[in-house]
């Protein structure tokens, strides 16, 4: 595995001329075309674009939930399927997707049970990740007893509970109101710094993408493709009010330009 990694310059995720065409009743739909991108260890990469630009499809390809029809993609230096089998990533979906018949603790423990962690290890890890997302003390509550934001935090805890270095997040805060979203964004940055995970994050919010990311990938639809990759000049330590600085606004401006250029074609 070491050899393969070095061949891809240490990229955690490496896509080369990736394409995916869905066969539908109305004919072929090109969800992704000629996508080439490297995500390096410790990066926080956001994917932004209008609906149909393939950002979620790209994330699902990384997770081996979709199979590309063209090109090549490696996750941790191996094929996505192999990476999935090695449990290389945690995936956070748009909805929290907690099991209503399990407590918060039970939900976080679920992947650990599936992966065969020992009983003691499960207890220890559940406690640790619930602490990490500030849900200590809610272990015995059922999902319906928690607010939407807390449920989404529990689902992030669940994705962190096992030792995956990669976190794939598909619009995890899309359904939440702005105040809750700000708070969770701040927490997520803090968590990213402490855990040093590599994060791929799909969003349709420009401020969210700029605030969170070290790199922003702008995509556009029909066919889904990358139109711009922006390396953020912002420092890794980001208080919420960094969003009022000229640097932040400049990056946001460039993202907006990229989105507009993509939709004009």
């Amino acid at each position: 595995m070491q050899g393969k990694e070095s061949r891809h310059d240490g990229a955690v995720i490496s896509a080369r001329a990736l394409g995916l065409t869905f066969q539908t009743g109305d004919g072929a739909v090109q969800a992704l075309r000629d996508v080439t991108l490297d995500i390096h260890k410790g990066d926080f990469v956001s994917f932004i674009g209008p609906s149909g630009c393939g950002k979620t499809t790209f994330l699902r390809v990384m997770a081996d939930l979709e199979t590309p029809t063209d090109g090549e993609i490696l996750v941790n230096g191996v094929a996505p399927q192999e990476a999935r089998r090695a449990r290389a990533y945690g995936y956070v979906f748009q909805a929290a997707g907690l099991y209503p018949w399990r407590t918060i603790g039970g939900n976080v423990r679920l992947p650990l049970e599936i992966m065969g962690y020992s009983r003691a290890e499960q207890v220890e890890r559940v406690r640790r990740v619930l602490d990490l997302v500030e849900l200590a003390g809610f272990e015995k509550k059922f999902p319906w007893q928690l607010s939407g934001g807390m449920q989404q935090r529990a689902s992030i805890a669940r994705a962190l509970a096992f030792d995956a270095d990669i976190l794939l997040m598909d619009e995890p805060f899309g359904a939440l109101d702005e105040i809750v979203r700000d708070h969770l964004n701040e927490q997520l940055l803090d968590l990213w710094k402490r855990t040093e995970k590599t994060i791929a994050f799909v969003t349709h919010s420009i401020p969210e993408a700029v605030y969170l990311s070290t790199r922003i990938v702008v995509m556009s639809p029909r066919p889904g493709r990358i139109t711009d990759v922006i390396d953020s000049p912002l420092p890794r330590d980001r208080p919420l009010d960094i969003r009022d600085t000229p640097e932040f606004l400049a990056v946001a401006h460039r993202v907006r330009e990229g989105l507009r250029a993509g939709s004009d074609q």
Binding site: R87, W101, F142
Partner: protein
Amino acid sequence: MRSVVPVLTVVGAIFVIWYAAAVWLNAPWARDVAARADRTLSVTELVADTWAQDKPKLPAPHQVAVELWDTVVGQNVTSKRSLVYHAWVTLSATLLGFAMGTALGFVLALGIVYNRVMDMSVMPWVIASQTIPILAIAPMIIVVLNAVGLSGLLPKAIISMYLSFFPIVVGMVKGLRSPDVMMLDQMRTWNATRVQEFLKLRLPSSMPYLFTSMKIAMAASLVGAIVGELPTGAVAGLGARLLAGSYYGQTIQIWSALIMAAVLAATAVALIGLAQRVVLKRMGMA
């Protein structure tokens, strides 16, 4: 407790209608008897007679109550005159048939959910099986099984199973497929095995469906057991009581057997409802 008044009102209304219907249906016989004896009946005599005939077209509630009391409390439960004995004969076939039907329904549902060939092929047959009138097929099942040396409890249980597996299949297929795509994708991201996916996601998701199906299956199962007792000329069971009652015009006996059947079904369904409440409560779903 708020439901007590409405329930009592409905029960009261049923009794009023029942007594009135008894007068209406039994009056011709009472008048015939009186006419043959060259007597005319006053209104009170007529009413009193219609509520106290030996073989009324429609027995009055208190006649059925007295018959029930005599045959339930007044007899040793091992006696063939005891309705408890007959109820147990039917109930044992019902419970065995229900257990077999639930197991069969569950296995078929598993096959349909996990096997593409079964998914494409089994359901039409399952539905077709229920379009055949049970009264038509029950005698044949009894005769065929008798020919291979099976008689007594098992043939009746098999008819019960025939009726009760259907709601279980339909409910469990729906229940096992109730997890959404996202939850199944989630399992995939954790590289869960199919067994883990079944035990930790599909099976718990299907619990509310299972209990609802089991309630319907239990009621169907009792009907099956009673129908199974009819064509054999069975000497024991509620079906036998119904048959004997109809041979000899013992309408009071028929009605008490019917009420016993209703009580059995209601009790069994209520017990499943109780289990449902306990299980779903423990799962945090109720």
